[in-house]
């Protein structure tokens, strides 16, 4: 794995996690209900590891881990999508994909809450 890319990605996700959590804590979007996240990586990065980080973020924002997940694709097919469900009805679509034109990680995120929505594109 390209360490520089990985560190940039992890740092970005860490900062994002903090900002999103603050937003949730302030009640700005109500109760988080659905997360849609698409992350595009250069080919050196591991999709499983990134998906795991996104899953961890989703769990943090929803306050618990998912109770089920359904997967499309696999690492060998250069993209993975998981549709995850939570016991209190929340859900997430998380996609990690390779793209040969990606210079660095690109994140497209929408966190839908009961009374508002947060958008992030990087």
């Amino acid at each position: 794995m390209n360490q520089g890319t990985h560190e940039l990605k992890s740092n970005h996700l860490r900062l994002l996690s903090h900002v999103v959590q603050e937003t949730i804590n302030q009640g700005a979007i109500g109760t988080p209900r659905y997360l849609r996240c698409i992350i595009t990586l250069s080919s050196e990065d591991g999709l499983e590891a990134v998906l795991l980080e996104l899953t961890r973020l989703a769990g943090a924002w929803f306050g618990s881990g998912a109770c089920s997940s359904y997967r499309l694709g696999c690492d060998e097919s250069t993209h993975i999508t998981e549709m995850q469900k939570w016991s209190e009805g929340q859900g997430a679509i998380l996609t990690a994909t390779h793209s040969p034109t990606a210079i660095g990680p690109r994140l497209d995120l929408m966190l839908i809450g009961s009374r508002g929505t947060l958008y992030h594109e990087e």
């Binding site: 109500g30 109760t31 209900r33 659905y34 849609r36 698409i38 595009t40 089920s68 359904y70 499309l72 694709g73 097919s77 250069t78 993209h79 999508t81 549709m83 469900k85 209190e88 009805g89 859900g91 679509i93 996609t95 994909t97 793209s99 040969p100 034109t101 990606a102 690109r106 497209d108 929408m110 839908i112 009961s114 009374r115 508002g116 929505t117």
Partner: protein, 382 residues
């Protein structure tokens, strides 16, 4: 010169409000009358008469009688529950048919419409957004190889309408395999009504059929939807033929959850690139001291702001922070394509066969959401 007389089935507080507006401005069309089934409620008849008055055309209470008029096109927007009955009548009468979406709420209804269409030898098309600029751009990117070989897609369409944040705390949706009712004053089945746009784009963009769906529905935002036990949100994962996969999101998530009308986007993931097509790009963003959008007073007869006619007395303040570049009205482009198909004999991209196939995907989604499992298509005919 007017070539086509247009009969409208349905009135105010239906999508006929927008259908009629678009047909009335097409140079080859002339609105002839508003009609409906003979046994509609007094309230529905009142709404139909109102639309007739809006357009200065007669109201005819009996669809069978109206179909004997000199009309060549029917724009049909009745309640979901009776769409098959109305569509079959219009097709058997030999009329070109422009259909509200989705096509029907049952497999039997879908099959009945397709069978009647097969025998009718007319042009019939269901409204979708495939003719919007951003969808056309996405199609071009696939066809010209910009994205490479398509691996997966994500399509989302969420309506920024209604007052979010009212659903009772702790509401967890328990879906049912076969929805029985679709028409309510205060809400509608949003995965059905909005998700159809996403599924139509998916099938049209890829030319593939859906083999399996895995679906989740939710009551996330609106008390009105929870009260009548219909979903305000849906998410699907789909496996298409040829190892293509896709995900979609659809719903109605509140007027204040988006700077414009709600996310409408397509993300194409291919071997060469990941490309995003968005209804609001390109745009400029404007920030000033002008008061921006605030939610209008709640209309108990239309809390989800479904109909333009209910906003006449209390029009919402427009959202002005985003100004998208000039875009083609998707329904104007869709009707133009419909007329062109009548004139050339070309089969519409979303004819009743295509519409039935993609509507069946949504019905399979309900089965999947109820069972919590992947469901294969086609659904069994009992």
């Amino acid at each position: 010169m007017t070539d086509y007389g247009v009969l409208l089935v349905g009135g105010r507080r239906s999508h006929q409000e927008s259908h009629a507006e678009v047909f009335s401005t097409h140079p080859k069309c002339k609105l002839v009358a508003v009609t409906n089934r003979k046994d509609v409620s007094d309230y529905r008849a009142h709404l139909d008469r109102q639309l007739a008055k809006d357009h200065g055309i007669p109201y005819i209470s009996d669809l069978d009688e109206a179909l004997r008029l000199d009309v060549q096109i029917v724009s049909s927007t009745p309640e979901v529950e009776v769409r098959p009955e109305v569509a079959v009548k219009c097709l058997e009468a030999g009329k070109h048919l422009y259909l509200d979406k989705p096509l029907a709420g049952t497999l039997q209804g879908l099959d009945a419409i397709v069978q009647a269409y097969h025998s009718a030898h007319v042009t019939a098309q269901m409204f979708t957004t495939i003719h919007s600029k951003w969808a056309q751009d996405a199609k071009r990117a696939i066809e010209d190889g910009s994205v490479g070989r398509l691996k997966t897609l994500h399509i989302e369409n969420l309506f920024a309408k209604g007052r979010a944040g009212t659903v009772p705390v702790g509401t967890v949706r328990c879906e049912k395999e076969r929805p029985e009712r679709f028409t309510y004053v205060e809400a509608k089945r949003e995965m059905f009504d909005v998700g159809v746009y996403c599924i139509a784009l998916l099938h049209w963009l890829t030319g593939r059929h859906t083999e399996t769906v895995y679906c989740q529905t939710g009551n996330y935002f609106h008390a009105q939807h929870a009260r009548v036990d219909v979903e305000d949100f849906g998410a699907m994962s789909l496996k298409m033929d040829g190892s293509l996969t896709a995900t979609i999101l659809a719903g109605r998530f509140g007027a204040t959850s988006h700077p414009q009308n709600g996310p409408q986007r397509i993300v194409l993931v291919g071997t060469k690139a990941v490309l995003t097509f968005d209804a609001y790009r390109p745009r400029v963003e404007i920030y000033n001291d002008t008061l921006d959008f605030i939610q209008p007073p709640l209309d108990l007869m239309d809390p989800m702001a479904m109909w333009g006619s209910t906003a006449i007395d209390n029009p919402p303040r427009p959202k002005r922070r985003w100004a998208s570049f000039a875009q083609v009205n998707p329904m104007e482009a869709d009707v133009a394509a419909f007329i062109e198909c009548i004139e050339t004999g070309r089969t519409p991209d979303i004819d009743p066969r295509a519409a039935a196939t993609l509507t069946e995907v949504i019905l399979a989604g309900y089965v999947s959401a109820a069972r919590g499992t992947e469901v294969s298509l086609p659904l069994p005919r009992i």
